[in-house]
């Protein structure tokens, strides 16, 4: 896994500032693609990071983006860049607030002055005053809105147009017109000698305000990643040459021995060398119960040692740790675009030039058929069209929701690889489950203990006494069960394992045997009293193991690959979501049927060879289902790839993340309905956002152009258009943030 992630390291990440809308995204991606060696380019508006894949010089990439009208610098380490970005965002937020205050201050002052001193009309008496005020407005416009003008100019030079273009044209037109009125009032009819300096200042102020609010809301959406970043320990207590020292985590090397005391976070991945403990892995896996760990077990960076002191050997450090990979994965997915988002990009690339055409057309119509003073009306209507049409809400609609949705899924232990998987998961109509390790625990456990005498505790003590000498997985299950029930193993002597039959030994001088029916019956033991119980075990997909002392049958123990406690509940949730559930297994039909009945699975295929799973997935897709395959990610890789959405399920962190589009960090099947519900909520949210943004623009433009004027005499003011435009992006961002409150139907007691 690590190698593969390193190969992806030919990607260069750039922090881009000045990008504000869907058109900018396109411009930046095109600028990156035009650099030699770049094969893929992707700009994420939600966190302002552009990623270029291929073999290109990072500096030339930054230069390409700069020449397209944005400032960019190369992010050396995207994992640690978050802190820098936070500081940058804070500074930018402050700057925007200052600029907003200055420009709004001037705008409001001009309005008040105009209202108090005979309006905004230019007369010979106030001509000089207006000239000074016009100059002041220009200074304020350049100081508080300079980034719009330079952005618009750079985009223009590249035959592009974006949100900056519209703002620059709108405010520029208003200012220029006012200046003409002020300098040569005689050139215009008396009615038309109105100045609009306050409009230019107010619009810039309002858009700065909108961007400031947006910036703040954006910060909140990346909380999922921040929370993961916060899991990293800053220091590690490393034992080198027999000496313990606290070192910054960056200095920990592979092979170092690290001491971790109870209550401390683990700084890197490793293997326990000394000590036993329980470790809370919930931050990585969503699994709420701390997991027992003993020497030889793997542990992960970012998890919490809750119990004992341990010493462990570092195996993966720095960006190789599971935590670092998860962070990388979540960030990548958060930045990816689902299909639906690409539609918005395509539309907005032709949108801005179209708006410019509409603005000119509007002006002409007002000039030719509008009421007097024509020149004022045509200027106001054209300016308002330019201002209200800014497609910034459109550009934010998808990435904001994807960012929140992917983060939300990560909270539930579901790691989504790309935005496409997020979109597809919402449309699923059939979920195919692998049996072993997916529906079941994947390792045998005791399901039944039946003693003829009724003393099950006694039975377990004896069985454990025999099996503690054995290495067989079934033996392990029995010993574990005995330990859990505090049944101390009896002192069995002369232990002997008979392959394929069972184990035997002597206890208090009598021969005791534990094994299958055929072997015990061959030894002359009558098992008929246990026949019913054994039949029950078999029907429930278990293996019955009989225990006898001498020639007397003592009881039967059922060992099975137990169905996970929450599998049935998770399958019920899938049904509630309107999804059909199917199981594929290599087991014989009786076992498969028993499991299907127990868990409420609609359909199953038994005796399936691993290589046939992909074929079944394909077959169901051809029947018209949108298919998810849930498997362990290694044996099932072809089936996972063949499905519309592949879920790799794994307990702990040893999952093959790259084999599936969604990885469930927690071993529970609940992750599947969680992902489906989150995905549906996210897509719904995107639809709301896109709908809102489209409606806003489709309604806003004609109103701004003045279609309401012939009926009601309403002509929107450019200031109102500026406010409405800012409001629309704030609304989209707020709606996306609403998704953070989303809760799946995961029953209580689960996590989170």
């Amino acid at each position: 896994m690590t190698d593969r992630l390193h190969n992806a390291g030919t990607q260069v990440h750039l922090a881009v500032s000045g990008a504000s809308c869907a058109s900018c995204v396109r411009t930046i991606e095109q600028a990156l693609l035009s650099v030699e060696g770049v094969t893929t380019a992707h700009m994420n508006l939600a966190d302002s990071v552009a990623t270029a894949g291929g073999q290109a010089d990072p500096d030339s990439l930054a230069k390409a983006v700069s020449s397209a009208g944005y400032s960019a610098h190369v992010l050396e380490d995207p994992d640690t860049a978050q802190d820098n970005k936070d500081a940058e965002d804070k500074a930018r937020y402050r700057t925007l607030l200052i600029k907003m205050t200055v420009s709004l201050g001037l705008g409001i002052a001009l309005m008040v002055w105009g209202m108090g001193f005979g309006g905004m009309m230019v007369t010979p008496a106030n001509q000089l005053t207006w000239l000074v005020l016009g100059g002041l407005t220009l200074v304020v416009m350049i100081f508080t809105g300079g980034h719009f003008y330079s952005g618009a100019w750079k985009a223009f030079r590249h035959h592009n147009a974006n949100m900056d273009t519209l703002i620059a044209l709108g405010t520029g037109t208003a200012w220029l017109y006012s200046m003409v009125v002020t300098i040569i009032p005689g050139a215009l009819p008396e009615m038309a000698r109105h100045v609009y300096f306050e409009a230019s200042a107010m619009i810039i102020g309002l858009i700065n305000l909108g961007q400031a609010l947006e910036l703040r809301a954006k910060g909140k959406t990346s909380e999922a990643v921040k929370r993961l970043l916060d899991l990293r320990a800053k220091t590690a207590r490393v034992i080198r040459d027999g000496e313990e020292q606290d070192l910054p985590v960056e200095q920990v090397r592979k092979g170092d021995h690290i001491r971790v005391r109870p209550g401390e976070k683990l700084p890197v991945d490793g293997v326990i060398a000394e000590g036993e403990t329980r470790i809370d892995e919930s931050m990585l896996t969503g699994e709420p119960m701390p997991v027992s760990k003993k020497p030889g077990d793997d542990v992960s960076a970012g998890t919490l040692n809750t119990h004992g002191a341990i010493i462990y050997e570092a195996t993966r450090v720095g960006s190789e740790t599971a935590l670092a990979q998860i962070i990388r994965l979540v960030k990548k997915a958060q930045g990816s675009k689902p299909e639906i988002g690409r539609l918005a990009d395509r539309i907005s690339s032709v949108f801005v030039p179209s708006v410019m055409l509409i603005a000119v057309l509007t002006a002409l119509v007002w000039y030719n058929v509008g009421p007097g003073p024509e020149i004022v009306h045509m200027m106001v209507a054209a300016t308002t069209v330019l201002i209200i049409a800014c497609p910034c809400a459109l550009g934010l609609a998808t990435p904001m929701s994807v960012m929140v949705g992917v983060g939300k899924a990560a909270e539930y232990g579901a790691l989504i690889r790309q935005g496409d998987a997020l979109q597809a998961a919402g449309k699923l109509s059939l979920v195919i489950l692998d049996k072993t390790g997916t529906i079941t625990e994947g390792h045998p456990a005791v399901t039944h203990v039946h003693a003829v005498s009724g003393d099950q505790h006694r039975l377990l003590c004896l069985a454990a006494g025999l099996e503690q000498h054995s290495e067989h997985p079934l033996a392990e299950a029995i010993v574990t069960q005995a330990r859990e029930e505090n049944a101390s193993p009896d002192a069995v002597e002369q232990f002997e394992a008979l392959n394929g039959q069972g184990v035997q030994g002597t206890f208090n001088g009598t021969v005791v045997r534990l094994g299958n029916r055929r072997w015990l019956e061959a030894a002359g033991i009558d098992l008929s009293v246990l026949a019913d119980e054994a039949e029950t075990i078999a029907r429930q997909a278990g293996t019955p193991l009989f225990l006898a002392e001498g020639d007397r049958a003592l009881g039967v123990i059922g060992v099975a690959d137990a169905i996970k406690a929450d599998s049935a509940a998770a399958i019920r949730r899938l049904h509630d979501a309107g999804v059909r559930v199917m199981m594929v297994t290599g087991d014989v039909e009786t076992t498969a049927r028993a499991i299907a009945e127990k868990t409420g699975i609609d359909d199953f295929r038994s005796s399936v060879l691993p290589e046939d799973k992909a074929r079944i997935v394909e077959e169901m897709r051809q029947q018209g289902y949108v298919v998810a395959m849930v498997g362990d990610g290694i044996n099932d890789a072809p089936a996972l790839a063949a499905a519309d959405v592949g879920f790799a399920i794994g307990t702990g962190t040893d999952v093959a993340i790259e084999s599936a589009s969604i990885t469930l960090m927690r071993g529970s099947l609940h992750g599947v309905p969680d992902a489906i519900e989150i995905s549906r909520a996210t897509i719904r949210n995107i639809h709301q956002n896109l709908f809102g943004a489209f409606i806003y623009n489709t309604l806003g433009i004609p109103i701004a152009a003045g279609v309401l004027y012939p009926v009601w005499g309403i002509l929107m003011s450019p200031i109102l258009a500026g406010a409405a435009m800012s409001l629309s992006s704030v609304t989209v961002v707020t709606n996306a943030n609403r998704l953070r409150l989303f809760k799946t139907t995961l029953p209580k007691g689960g996590n989170p």
């Binding site: 095109q30 693609l33 590249h158 592009n160 055409l357 000119v360 002409l364």
Partner: protein, 41 residues
Amino acid sequence: MTSLMVNFGGLVLMAAIVAWFWWPGSSKNQADNSEPSQHHH
């Protein structure tokens, strides 16, 4: 006379916008290798 000039000017402006942003030779379309035939069939 003024009216004619304003209308003519508007039309020229619109033609300029189309030419600048949509003309086949503009750099935007050259870089746009994802949908090369979008604006000029």
